[in-house]
Symmetry: D2
Subunit: 382 residues, 4 copies
Amino acid sequence: MAKTLNVGMIGYKFMGKAHSNAWLKADKFFDLKARPIMKMICGRDKAGVSQAAFRWGWDQFVTDWRDVVNDPTIDIVDINTPNDTHAEIAIAAAKAGKAILCEKPLAMDVKQGKQMVDAVKKSGVVNMICHNYRRIPALVQAKKMIEAGDLGTIFHYRARYAQDWIVDPNFPLVWRLQSKIAGSGTHGDINAHIIDIARYLVGEFSEVCGQMETFIKERPLPTEQGGLSATGSKKMGKVTVDDTAMFIGKFKNGALANLEATRFALGRKNGIQVEINGSKGSLYFDFEDMNRLKYYNEADPADRRGFRDILVTEGTHAYANHWWPPGHIIGYEHTFVHTVADFVNAVVDKRSVQPTFADGLANQVVLEAVEKSAQTRKWVKI
Amino acid sequence: MAKTLNVGMIGYKFMGKAHSNAWLKADKFFDLKARPIMKMICGRDKAGVSQAAFRWGWDQFVTDWRDVVNDPTIDIVDINTPNDTHAEIAIAAAKAGKAILCEKPLAMDVKQGKQMVDAVKKSGVVNMICHNYRRIPALVQAKKMIEAGDLGTIFHYRARYAQDWIVDPNFPLVWRLQSKIAGSGTHGDINAHIIDIARYLVGEFSEVCGQMETFIKERPLPTEQGGLSATGSKKMGKVTVDDTAMFIGKFKNGALANLEATRFALGRKNGIQVEINGSKGSLYFDFEDMNRLKYYNEADPADRRGFRDILVTEGTHAYANHWWPPGHIIGYEHTFVHTVADFVNAVVDKRSVQPTFADGLANQVVLEAVEKSAQTRKWVKI
Amino acid sequence: MAKTLNVGMIGYKFMGKAHSNAWLKADKFFDLKARPIMKMICGRDKAGVSQAAFRWGWDQFVTDWRDVVNDPTIDIVDINTPNDTHAEIAIAAAKAGKAILCEKPLAMDVKQGKQMVDAVKKSGVVNMICHNYRRIPALVQAKKMIEAGDLGTIFHYRARYAQDWIVDPNFPLVWRLQSKIAGSGTHGDINAHIIDIARYLVGEFSEVCGQMETFIKERPLPTEQGGLSATGSKKMGKVTVDDTAMFIGKFKNGALANLEATRFALGRKNGIQVEINGSKGSLYFDFEDMNRLKYYNEADPADRRGFRDILVTEGTHAYANHWWPPGHIIGYEHTFVHTVADFVNAVVDKRSVQPTFADGLANQVVLEAVEKSAQTRKWVKI
Amino acid sequence: MAKTLNVGMIGYKFMGKAHSNAWLKADKFFDLKARPIMKMICGRDKAGVSQAAFRWGWDQFVTDWRDVVNDPTIDIVDINTPNDTHAEIAIAAAKAGKAILCEKPLAMDVKQGKQMVDAVKKSGVVNMICHNYRRIPALVQAKKMIEAGDLGTIFHYRARYAQDWIVDPNFPLVWRLQSKIAGSGTHGDINAHIIDIARYLVGEFSEVCGQMETFIKERPLPTEQGGLSATGSKKMGKVTVDDTAMFIGKFKNGALANLEATRFALGRKNGIQVEINGSKGSLYFDFEDMNRLKYYNEADPADRRGFRDILVTEGTHAYANHWWPPGHIIGYEHTFVHTVADFVNAVVDKRSVQPTFADGLANQVVLEAVEKSAQTRKWVKI
């Protein structure tokens, strides 16, 4: 009797795992307006996708994404494929009238992104870009406080997304380090996240000035491309993406920005450190402690002011009451469940919720502006 | 073709939710020796259990636990019912030759616990007590290090399990605060956990001396029992369990113990702070930061010694490689998935893994010794 | 024209250094009611005391403490000698009408302590026991908040004083590890501090139950006593004091106590971790971060409660405004300056300020009760 | 018999207090090659300087700095006056052959700084710029580790100096907010510090690109200038310095830089957060916890890597063994004592130690480059 929505998911690897888990769990923990049915999974490798289908309980699998998009029983298309395929699939899905959830980044460039936004506008389908970090309870709490004016006028947004998985020069030249496949390196992969958080919490950028760097210029080719051979010889290839990207800039509302992304910060595994300073208070967040939000309130009595360490697991915190009692933390994967839950309700309501394809496009615009700035060594308006 | 095991779960509320989620996810993230099938769920309230069955995807539901235990197709009985029913169900399940996973505490008292241990011994069934915190990756890492001798001789085990949900004197007299239903209060509910962690990491206790206290002696009866009425009058009832329980003592290996459990520590939501000091190093853990383990290594060079803040999300950490990349944390519910995963393999191997019913019993022995000590105001040998 | 007070300090080693520094600095940073003059320093070793006098700028030095006590120009006697000499010197100083600042512990036992208290009562001299930690700004802030009722009814006082300097079994049998010289070990040396903090912040103990342990029973004698010889042979001696002492208990106001002191916690250098939980909030303090006080306020809005990390360096914090701007921290030695500053003013006012000799005695009473409890393995009333 | 050096200190306010304390304490805690004698203090206000002389025990006071510089008995001139007077005094002192300790910033601009460097070079006097943070034991430890190669190749230097004392728009237009007096705002005052730390730990900058901002453009004039009058009317004045200054850039050794200074980060009292990432490890420091250094060592075993929390109070840590036992922390003022101690020995050795006037000049060069970059909105080479 309950309304259902048939989901077709395209792509089944890392993000496919995160999304499958989300589709599996969303209606167990949230009272959704419709029950998502894990109907169809798609991947080019038959053996791989059939295993994934079996493991996750997808009803059927196909190897051509068109079979998903064209299937009249499918209500939702969930795109987890490599970046260079997003546009084609999403535009086709929009034409077919499907609600679309698309992994970030939206597109390979601004031009392509615009086509996608046009497509969903034209067809009127519900669309969402999967910037799942927007649904970390601590960041939702931050958003709520900023919108309520609890931080006052924002002066500073300062963020760093730091990882350390390619510091070793012998780490091979995987596809993520080749620009023709990955588009960009650290910048598009993780700077994109803290740009999105900035837009979510503070607002639109007005101008940026950045620098990007590749610390290790050559790396051994992966074994399958002739590198790291059994005989021990290493064939090297050129690294064609950035190892780090950072920029300073300004928001339209006058706040200043300082963002930095790197894969060369040993000890920072998935550190997303965000600090926001306003005229009434400050917030601090680190993704490695994602259940916590630090909050400084200038209105506290003078002798007892200090950053509060808020464990965002209370019933009053967004999403948290759907999970476990206070103090019982949640993790990375839950952000996808929250995303899927909100998306399902949006599909039933026939009204997109943030972040939409338009947000994905806006993100791309900032990314490109920073790249242009780094290349031209000039400030770039947005 | 893959081997399967049919699961019958009895009890469907808080722990039923945690266990359902674990049964749902275990074979998605772990390559189990058999696939658990969510066959049957049981609860006394038909409406409630049918909803739970539908929500979680259990194949069928029943309202009498005997229907689970006696069903010849059921391989595993998972007991999540109130404490006073564990013994009867478990003994029946053992007689029926089922593998048994039982929520903690094992039994209402030592005597009952012994009967349960006898029953599983006699029938030879695989049995496990669900002390899920043993499968927090950080504590598994601690165990590994202690067993490898990295801490040397243990001097101190010091732990506190602190919550704050009944500090308000107007919090009603729920069943957990009535001894006839709950057995004990803080002691059996949460002290039991840090006793189990102590036994897991350090060894057996040899003697204890404790005190227990009820800070708030009377509370409003719950609405359904005449309290907190619409007219605003409050009918009070007597709190018959402890609000806090603490004890000092000794382990058989000579280490000293200091354990404390309380529901009266404002700001501590589910804080399980454990410190272990040995002759070569120290460990510190807090459940509110369950993805981290602090480790001090005396063998580090003198000018650079300090507690290391290990983010236990690396591929080399137990269970972690089944989830997400380094730095992408997991949460409370994952400990149940780990437990179920190991249990399923144990069932296939026909060999129980720790913690077994015997561990549950040993825990009960310590709990009773502390209670006796608090009543008699004397040291009690174990 | 400014009033002056002549100080005679007896003992010039570790505490003599801390006190000399305090006498030197007190009137530079505080506007005292009188200027302390570093008049006379006393030590048994002429070479040593003369060097100390020169280094610190004491006007003169003597080798017999009677020369200090009997000098009519001396206003203040500051006792930093070994514990077994406190009583004799203090009683003589009291008879001579001197104001007395005495290092902790007050005496070797309760009996001796009572004589000292009687002596200062009889003579009416201003007296103070140097429990300098009472003047850590963070603890003064804690006191202020507790007295104002901001914590409500206190439920728990939980403290641990942990060090690690004798974990190595080759650490020699210094005087602090010999009971005839040191009285007790960890207990009198550092448990005494957290007992004093308990009495300062929470109130009087009513009963205690403790255990004490010596982990390493024999140690090499110090070189000068024949141990650790040039030939490498080690002559061993028996450790006659406790390595750790811990106790549970109750305060007269109903709060529960859990205190532990140890020299066997690797990585804890001078960790004094104190947590106090009340009906309205909680406080947490660690001496290794002595400029900070953590405060949880239940009255904060439900979605933004959390321990505040108060940096106790603001102008509104006790003593802090005498030092440096906010965020510029102070250290261990400053607590002695605060003590001396308050003591000087007390001398001018002819009115003792806490902690007095009576506090030193009360501390001794608790220490002895815990020792008796550990020996008899029984609860002891206070 | 001990060698002595006569000190003449010019300026007696905030820095005069910090320096007086340092001169007072240096030879009490360090075995210096000469004993500094607090001979002469100088200030323009006779009442003020005489009080300071009395309070701190300076032998005499004068009101004209020339009387210090020209006094043949003076060995050391210590300059703590407003920035616009440094050059004149220092050049005169150099000509008079005095050893010179000068507060930062060295000069008003690069041109002036060069004259000062020339003067000390020509006269050959020992000279030092008081960048006291270089002698925080944690940063000395960082330096030692970086020099030993323990961090490998440096990739990132990332620092933020954040305060919050002028967030309130009613905070008056003090001299520090007026460019004609202060030179610059946040930039010269505190960005200068993290630039110096960068040069100390990482090396020379090669190029920079920055932005500076004044968030609050007008403020009430101070009462003495007609603002904040008794009648409540507020006369406003224009803020002519920056509230925040940040820049990205590059070091000559290829590392990337990201520095930010602000007085608009509520809750950050004197936060100097520095992170350095290299190919073998990372370091993190925060001045608000100045006794700690966080260190990540990639060479640690894979399952136990994590940032170590090193409490830099051990005997093996620079300066620490002169103070108190491990775990007994020191504070802000101690950095001045360390500076003075090293300076005194340098004077005896007739050989300047870092940071010299040349370092002060190099710092100024970077400051000006950032300012130029912010004005021209272009990258600037150094």
